[in-house]
Structure formats: structure tokens, C-alpha cells
Symmetry: C2
Subunit: 132 residues, 2 copies
């Protein structure tokens, strides 16, 4: 599971590098005594701290503590916090904390808010307005 | 050697956390196919990408490629590149690329430029002008 998670993190890392961002995976992001995200990326203007998640299906539950740490880290560092979420045969989707649904013990992404996830193109500033 | 390097990286990480910066160690910084520094730190205003070095004594030699990658990464990410250098019983010193002495195959820090290294306090913006 940890290894599989790493593979997805590396896949996402490559995506950012291929789209004008410098990107790094954080060492020991699960074990450090300080809050730390899975990925940090920047392009000189925009910085994101990302928690990377994959599941076989909805819903995705995330501990409240994990999100609080992501926000705390991001605020101090100077980055925007995002949850990057991958479902099989779906493109990466990116959720702000406001997009998440609160549960008793944390947050979730389910059928009710999955559609709020932003596409990668929008996150890296290549979004084309197609609704006009 | 690698393990010892990690200990020094973690020591420096703590220093930044204790002085208002969010700091992370980069995973696989020596092995990634993309350039990556040892540490990235930020406080919402200032971002540094750091190459962390320790030696028992002067000089410190650094490959030219290593420095070029540090600069390349920093320019794309949006951080200032620094070499953090630790000698036994000395405080951490921080060098910009301009502070380094060029050699045939790269760069070095020796008796001629060691004094150019900035103190930690200056790097984190707590420098007090004491020369007046």
C-alpha cells in the first residue's frame, strides 16, 4: 500500500514537472514530528502542498488531523493546500479543503462532492474556459 | 555517510521550524531523475532550496552539476538557492552560489571564502546589524 502510494505520488510528480512546475516528494511525510504534505510544487508564482490519495472507489475518508496539518503546513510555508485524488480509470482530481465534506471524525469525498474536484489543467493554470 | 548526512539535515530542519519556517526534507534527493535539493523551507515570504553539506575540515568541494541543478530547481520552483555548510564545532554557514569559488570541475569553499557564509540568523531574517 505504501509502495503503491509512492508510485502514484511519482506519477503526479512527473505531471507537474511536465507542466512547468518544480516538484518534490517529501521525505518521511507520514512519520515526521512536524506536519508535512506528500508533495510540494512551485512554478515561481504558485505553490501547492499536496496530500496524495488513491482509492479503488468512492468514498475517500481523510482524518481531520491530516487535513489540519496540511493547512497548518501550507499557511506557514506559503502554499495552497490541495488533496490530489485518483480513482481507477479517472483523471486526477484536486480538492481544496472547502470542497471536502465534513464527517464526525474528519472529511470525505463521495458522490456528493466528487464533481467539485478541479482538473490538473486548472491547477497548473492551463484551464481553458469551455463553458462559453 | 548518508545516514550521518541525514542527521545533519534533520538538525537543520529543526532549526528552521524553530524559527518560523515550515521545512521539509526531499525524498530521494540524490536519486531522482529531476534536480532536487536536500531541504525546502518557506515562511510565506521567503523560500529557500538548500543543499546541505558537512565536512570534518575545509575545503568543501561541490560538483558543478550539483550546483547547476540546485540553481535550475530554485529558479523554476521560486526559491533562493543556498548551500548550508557545517564544520565541527562551528555554526551552520550559508553560501549563495556567488559566494562559492569556482574550480576546474565545480566549486569549493575554502579558507578564502568561508568567511562569506551567512549566519543562520541572517538567513531567517533575525540578523542584527552589529557592525555599527
Amino acid at each position: 500500500m505504501k509502495r503503491k502510494g509512492s508510485r502514484f505520488e511519482r506519477e503526479l510528480l512527473e505531471l507537474f514537472w511536465n507542466n512547468g512546475f518544480a516538484a518534490v516528494r517529501v521525505a518521511g511525510s507520514g512519520s515526521s514530528s512536524h506536519p508535512s504534505p506528500d508533495l510540494i510544487v512551485g512554478n515561481g508564482k504558485t505553490f501547492y502542498a499536496l496530500e496524495v490519495k488513491m482509492r479503488k472507489e468512492l468514498p475517500l475518508y481523510i482524518e481531520g488531523e491530516k487535513i489540519r496539518e496540511l493547512v497548518m503546513f501550507s499557511n506557514l510555508f506559503g502554499a495552497k493546500p490541495l488533496v490530489a485524488f485518483k480513482l481507477p480509470r479517472k483523471k486526477w482530481k484536486f480538492f481544496t479543503v472547502a470542497d471536502l465534506v465534513e464527517t464526525e471524525r474528519g472529511y470525505k469525498i463521495d458522490e456528493s462532492n466528487y464533481h467539485l474536484g478541479k482538473d490538473f489543467e486548472e491547477v497548473v493554470g492551463k484551464y481553458k474556459q469551455e463553458r462559453l
